[in-house]
């Protein structure tokens, strides 16, 4: 169980709507399933109380004390400067110091990002770390959207790096060969888009080493038209949250409508597990979180509403990213002069 080679993952146990209960539970489940050790970061008494309710036999873990927490509404930069002892700051330091090889955080996204960039540091040559989210599709593999919110303002050059990092992620973690890279835009033709998209299109075309396949409209994010879709962080975040909103609306309208007749009520009972499967497939719980690409350490950022299952999957993703050496692969692209 305890081996020098065992991968260790630092978990911010205090971040997220259901912290610490669901976070600690998911961490223990993930540690068991994927054979990793844990640094559980946060308020020791609260973490211990959760652990007492769980079966932890055979799991290697350490509780790392961090008495402060950063709330969802706090300004990330200010919060990580002021609260040196916040759980997400301490957890990212665990990775920076090499005690853990990856970080899982489900609290304030901006704070997790800021803490990771500040403590782990950017990979040399990467201008701007970016958030890569894995979108469900009706195709055999998911679609990676970069940037989903790290950089609200972008210049076209940044999207070249997003495309490369997303491509490495797609290859390494999703086993996609030669990922097809698309540009999120409002029409298929190269003449479509705002001035930012037009300039980015031209730039992407010039980079022969990228498998750039052209513009991808929002409706084609989910049908396998591209493996990696790049955009600025503002647009990516709007798209991501719009997708979440539509999913919620459809489920809620379906629930409402099935209450209107006995026939539909009966049908709803029969398709309940099917609906759950669909919900699973389209929810971010399944993938467990977004990867912050471009920092010197694996950093997986979970949804604020993460439950234990989502955290368990976040641990899987973190371990895969470590196993597949995503950081090393990005670094070597930099050395090759290709990033």
């Amino acid at each position: 169980m305890s081996s020098k080679q065992q991968i260790c993952i630092a978990i911010d146990c205090m971040g997220g709507d259901y912290a610490p209960q669901e976070i600690v539970k998911g961490a223990i489940l993930g540690a068991r399933q994927y054979g990793v050790a844990l640094q559980l970061v946060g308020q020791p008494d609260k973490i211990q109380a959760e652990l007492d309710a769980l079966e932890t036999q055979g799991i290697q873990y350490e509780i790392v004390p961090a008495l402060e927490t950063i709330d969802m509404g706090e300004s990330p930069a200010a919060a990580i400067r002021k609260k040196k002892n916040a759980s997400v700051v301490v957890a990212s330091t665990c990775v920076a110091k090499g005690m853990s090889q990856g970080l899982v955080a489900a609290g304030n996204t901006g704070a997790a990002m800021a803490a990771a960039i500040f403590n782990m540091g950017r990979i040399e040559g990467v201008d701007r770390p970016a958030i890569a989210v894995v979108l469900p599709t009706t195709y055999k593999t998911p679609c990676i959207l970069v940037d989903a919110g790290a950089n609200a303002d972008c210049i076209p050059e940044m999207l070249i790096q997003f495309g490369r990092m997303g491509s490495i992620f797609s290859q390494a973690v999703l086993q996609v060969k030669n990922p097809r890279i698309g540009l999120l835009n409002i029409g298929e033709e190269s003449s479509k888009g705002n001035s930012f998209a037009l300039s980015t299109y031209k730039l992407l075309e010039q980079h022969d080493e990228l498998n750039f396949i052209g513009n991808i409209e929002g409706k084609h994010l989910f049908d396998g038209s591209a493996d990696v879709v790049v955009c600025d962080g503002y647009t990516g975040n709007v798209a991501l949250k719009t997708a979440e909103g539509v999913g919620n609306m459809v489920m809620s309208l379906f629930k409402e409508e099935t209450q209107k007749s006995l026939r539909a009520k009966a049908g709803a009972i029969l398709v309940k597990s099917t609906l759950r499967k669909v919900k699973h497939k389209v929810s971010d719980e399944e993938f467990g979180g977004a990867l912050l690409l471009g920092v010197k350490g694996i950093c997986v950022i979970g949804h604020g509403g993460s439950n234990a299952y989502a955290i368990q999957n976040a641990i899987r993703v973190t371990k895969e990213a470590i196993d597949q050496d995503v950081i090393g692969k990005i670094e070597s692209k930099v050395l090759e002069g290709c990033l």
Copy 2:
């Protein structure tokens, strides 16, 4: 039946994936249901062939010949310059000349917009006409998103007008009192967003006559958090098409999953009509199209995939906008110095 006061609507019968069949059919259905007269614009023989298959007794209509068509892929500006006899150009001229009071077009969106702006003209004082789409919500009234694609590049000042025009639309057509206006953004706090959103937020705040309620995230477009949401046309179009993509994916995954067990298959049969209702509620067929706000004439732009039902609803929206004098209301706001 034929009265001088009867509202007349010009229909581009040649635009859209299912033209002319579904367009002509929907136009006749709409004319009967909403008591309007029609100018059916396009290739006379093709339109006549469709009419021959329909019950047109009592409907007042005129076929207006237009022998050219503009395809979906054509560059709008070039196409309307070159093809003076294209159906959408001729149809917009029918409105410009006062023979019809509104236009319904389901073909190339850019061409419909360009033809409307070029032939009907902008309302004086409106800097940029914008596309308003009506999004379904789980709330009692839909949410209007402006701009959904007319202006890929915007400056913050343009969004003030979008908010005002959207607000007039919401009041006039959806009967919403004092519509709540939100800014599409990536967080609720005023400090969130890209530089464009930050500047726009500040500007919206300064306009006391607008009922500005702050930032709206993508996930809150569909839950009634705001009545009108403003954004640049690039972001709005990405959000709109992403919503379409998620809807398609959920339906397609549900279909796929229900094939996997007898229980689910049986359930699927029982909830079939419920699903159809949900699909209806979330599809743009129900609303019939987007309104181009800011031109001197009502112009309703349908989805390229519009069927007869969508066109019938487009006629309803066109008639409501005419009845409620949306153009006059925008013009008077201009005169009041409020636009």
